[in-house]
Symmetry: C2
Subunit: 460 residues, 2 copies
Amino acid sequence: MPEALEGFEPLFNPRSIAFIGATRNKAKWGFMILSNILLGGYKGKVYPINPNEDEDILGLKVYPTVYSLPESPDLAVIVIPQSAVSQTIKECVDKRIKASLVITSGFAEVAGEERKRAEVEMVEIARKGGMILVGPNSNGIASTPSDLNILMSLPLPPFRKGSLAITSRSGSVGTSVLRRSIAYNIGFSRYASNGNEADLHIEDYIEYFGEDPQTKTILAYTEGIQQGRKFLEIATKVSRKKPITMLMSGVTEAGARAARYHTASFYYGRESTYQAICKQAGIIRANDIAELFNIGASFLAQPLPRGRRVAILTMGGGWGVVASDTCVKAGLEVVELPDETYKELNRFLPWWWSHNNPVDTATGFKWEGCLEALTRCPAVDAILLLTGTGRGVMPIGEIAPAIRELIDQYNKPIILCSETREEEAIKELGQRDLIPYPSISQAVKALASLVSYSEYLASI
Amino acid sequence: MPEALEGFEPLFNPRSIAFIGATRNKAKWGFMILSNILLGGYKGKVYPINPNEDEDILGLKVYPTVYSLPESPDLAVIVIPQSAVSQTIKECVDKRIKASLVITSGFAEVAGEERKRAEVEMVEIARKGGMILVGPNSNGIASTPSDLNILMSLPLPPFRKGSLAITSRSGSVGTSVLRRSIAYNIGFSRYASNGNEADLHIEDYIEYFGEDPQTKTILAYTEGIQQGRKFLEIATKVSRKKPITMLMSGVTEAGARAARYHTASFYYGRESTYQAICKQAGIIRANDIAELFNIGASFLAQPLPRGRRVAILTMGGGWGVVASDTCVKAGLEVVELPDETYKELNRFLPWWWSHNNPVDTATGFKWEGCLEALTRCPAVDAILLLTGTGRGVMPIGEIAPAIRELIDQYNKPIILCSETREEEAIKELGQRDLIPYPSISQAVKALASLVSYSEYLASI
C-alpha cells in the first residue's frame, strides 16, 4: 500500500472511533456530531468519552478517558474546550491512536500569541506520537465507503457513494459543495474540512486522493498555500492521474485579511503566483463555489475531448447564438460541419432547418438522431446540448440514458445545459454521473475545462 | 401621451384582438396560442378568424376574414402559413387595425431571396397603413397590466404583475428570462419577442418601456443592432430614467452566423463596438441569460449605492473570504469598518469574533443586530449578506421582511446570496422584489452593476 494511502486509512476508514467530548446536551456539538455519526450508518465501534457523564449517550456506553477504552481506536474526534485539547492529544498519542480530527476552534485564527502557541504545541505532540491531525477549526470529515459522517452540518440526507473527493480549508465552502453534490445526486468518496491546517495541509489530502482507488476527481478549496514547493510537487504528480479543480481564495488584500481571521492563513498568495502554479501543475481553476462543483463534476462521466471542435445542438435558436459566442470567447471552435453530417441531419429535421452549427432543432424534431449524428461526426470533439427546461418534446429524464450511452459509445463528452428543476430528471442524470448545467456560461466553462485538462495531459 | 406610449397602446393594451389562423386542432399553434390568451385571463374581446372553420373555437364565434368583424380590433395576431401573411397584413390595414404580431416564421431567416422579399413587402404594407408589426418569427408578447399572454410557450402559471420589462430578439432567451421571473416570483410588466425585427426594432421597444409607467427596469437581448445611431440615441435617453440591462449576442463570427440563421440578423457587431455603445449609453452588460435576469432584477428593490464601499455579513467564514476576493476583483472596496461599528457589533457577537470586514457571525448570533449596524454605518454604501442555505438560525422567509425594511429605512442596497431552494422562502423574497442570488459571483456582479449604473448617472 502506498504511504499516503496507509497513513490516511485510520482517518477515512477507521475501524473504531473515540468521540472525546460526547454529551447528552442536544444543543451542543458534542451531541450533534455524535448523532450524525450514528445517523450516517457507521458500522465500526464508537466510544463516547466524557469524565462527567455516566449514563449512556445515544445508547452508547460512556468512558471517562481514552485510557479507559478496551482498545486503541483508529480515530479520535475532539470536540472539547480549546484549553483542554493539547492534554487530550497527549492522551490519544499515549493510547496509540493514529488519527485525530480536531473540531475545536479558538486556536491561531483568534488573536493572541498564546493561542498560536497552543496550536503549535498540539501539533508537536501529535507528530512526535506518529498521529495525523485534521484541523483544528475543522467542520469534520466524511467518507462514503465507510459510511462515515463526522460533520457539524445540520442533518443531511444519506450520502450517495461516488468518486468525487473534496478537501476544503473552509467548512462553509466545503458544505456548499457537499450540498450541491446532494442536490445533483452526485456521489462522493471523501470529504475533509481542513480548518487551520496545523498538521495536515491541503497537499496531503490531495496526495491521498491521488492514491485513493475510490476517488476519480478532486475538488479543493484553499485560502493560502503554506508549503508552495511541496504543494506544487504533489499537485503536479497527482494531476497526471486525476483532475484537480481548485478554488483559490485570499488572492486580494481584503481576501487574505479575511482568510487570516477565518483559518489563520498567513500565506498571502498573489494572483500571478496562483496562475503560475495552476499552469505548471495542470490544476483547473474555478472562480466560485458553484463553479468548483460544476467543473469538478464534469470529469466524472465525461471522457476527455481530443480537440476544441464543438457541435451545438439546441432546442432554441437564441440559446445557440449565446452559446456560440460563449464557446468562441472560451477558446473553443464552433466547427463547420461536413456535408455528410448535414445530409444525415436532414433526415431528422424539416427542410427549412438552419443547416449550420449550432443545429437548431426548433420544436424538437427527432433530437435522438441529431445527437447521434453529431456525436459520430469525425469533425466534432465535443457536444453541447441545450434543452432549456427540457419539458415536452425532450424530457430530461428520458434523455439521460441516451446521453450516457452516446458518451460511452463514441467516447466524446456531451455537456447538457438545462434549466430543469424537476427532481426526478436531476436524479436520473446524477445516477449516471451527469449534471444539468444551469447556465450556458457554466456549461461552456465545464467543456473548456475538459479541453484544457486534455491539452495539459497531452503537453507533458 | 408621449408618441412612443401611444403607438404601443394597441399592442400592449389592446381593447380587442383578431386571432388570424385560429384552429380547433390542438397540436397547432393556432390553437395553443389562442388557448394561452384565454387562460391568461384577457378581458377584451377575442375574434378567432379562419375561413375553413365554422364551429366555435374554445367557445368563441369564428369569423371567415377580418373584413367580416363587427369592429376594428386593436391588435391582429397572425399564425398562418408564410405565403399568406402579406395578403393578411393588407386586409388588417384595410380594416384599420393598428398593431400586428406575426408569429409565422420562414421569412428572411430562411435561405432564398423570395422570402426576404416577402418580409420587406409585408413591412411596406404595414407601414403605409400606419400599423406597427412585431416579428415575424416572434414567439409572442405578454403584458400583465392587461392580463395579456400571447405566447407560444407551454402553459405557464399566471404571471405576477410587476415592473420588469423584457424585449428579446430570441423567443427561447426571452422565455428563459420569463421562467426565471416566475421561479423567483418576480413580477413583470411587458414582454416582447422581437423575432426578425422587420418593422419594430429593439430600440423601439426600449423607447416605449422608457415611457411606460408600469416599467421600472428594462431587460433586453439582441443578436445584432440594425440602426446603431438610433439605438444609441434612444438607449442614452432612456437609461437616464431607467436602467437597461442587456445581453448582446452575435459578437463572434460563429455567434453572428448563428444569429443570421436564427433571426435573420445581418448586423455583425464587433465586441469593441458593443463595449463602446454600452459605455456611452450607460447600458449594463450581462454575459449570460441567467445574469441578464439576475442583474436586471436587482434594480427593482435596491436603491443605487452612493459609492463602492461594501460590508460583508456572512454566516460562513469561507464564503466571506471568497466574497472579499470577488468584490475586489469587481472593483468594489471591502471597507475597513469604523471603531464605532465594531463596538456596536460586539453587542451581538461573541468576544472571539473576527473584528474584521467580512463580519463572520459563525453560528449566527443575532444577525438582525449585525445587519442593522452595518446598514447604518456611514462608511458603508452597500451590504452583501451571505446566508448559505439559510436554514436554522437564519431562515430566509423570516429575514425577507427585515431586509426589505432596512433597505427602505437606510436607502442602501442589501444583496442576499443564498443557496436556498425552499419555495416558500423564494416566494417571500419575490413578493418584496428581492431575489436570493444563487452564487457569490452573481451576487457581486449584481452589486457591481448597481454601483456602475449609479456612477454612470452621476457622471452625465
